[in-house]
Symmetry: C2
Subunit: 170 residues, 2 copies
Amino acid sequence: MDLYTLIRDIKDFPTEGILFRDITPLLQDSNGLKESIDSIAEVLQDVDFDLIVGPESRGFIFGVPTAYKMNKGFVPVRKPGKLPFEHISQTYDLEYGTSTIEIHIDAVQKGQKVVIVDDLLATGGTTKAIVDVIEKLGGEVVKIVYLIELEGLKGRDVLQGYNISSLLKY
Amino acid sequence: MDLYTLIRDIKDFPTEGILFRDITPLLQDSNGLKESIDSIAEVLQDVDFDLIVGPESRGFIFGVPTAYKMNKGFVPVRKPGKLPFEHISQTYDLEYGTSTIEIHIDAVQKGQKVVIVDDLLATGGTTKAIVDVIEKLGGEVVKIVYLIELEGLKGRDVLQGYNISSLLKY
């Protein structure tokens, strides 16, 4: 099955000049959803890890079923104000302004091996912030898997030293 | 396994007087995550349906793995401005103010049988808005499943006539 055929290109979203890769046709297709999760799990099959971390909201879409399939726990990284328990934050730069992510302080234990799953590698800023909070809690990021990688944005440059895979490259 | 032991009570979140049921310990526990998804799937095993709809963000957490396990497609209902393709909206009342959800116009086909999965039934307002947009697109809501139901808030009253199940009741 060619997963590329289930990604819809939307011009000028969210702003002019951006070609948005819409994953909703893939999610809506039972075989597309199944194959994308199975392919992420295949990437991880020889990786020794304890849990999966995924960011709100689209990281939940691929991270939770992968954790379910591989019988691991899942830790959500969320936008500010959403996590009810004690948490730490990381603020990072966007093209215009900044953004912040949060993680519960008991979400990752010292020495745990963590996999990050997200839908998209663009500039890498969000992932770098997630790596930072996982490492602050004492976790080790052993693998990062994306459904889609926008190679032209060179997100791998800000994630040097980490083991990265993506299923679909543009 | 007693899933109740994996729900953490947080007092006064998000505002004073609210006892928040925190699902993150359950997600973090590989057996808790597995059993919650398997239990939702068990509720659905004799239900004839075509796809699962879940709202951003926590509906993604339970809806996508259930769709994956049952080999169905998944349709996200999102907050305003997130869906890139043509969509319809529904605005509904909150205790203070209003909220809006959106769904792509090609997400549900006429006559399709739809299951809604979400983490929490509180007042039922969000679910009612989701039901409304699914029915506007011509879909039929055949079942609604929650991880948690706050029975005192009487969410079932605004969803009369729909087939509702919840795993954990408070």
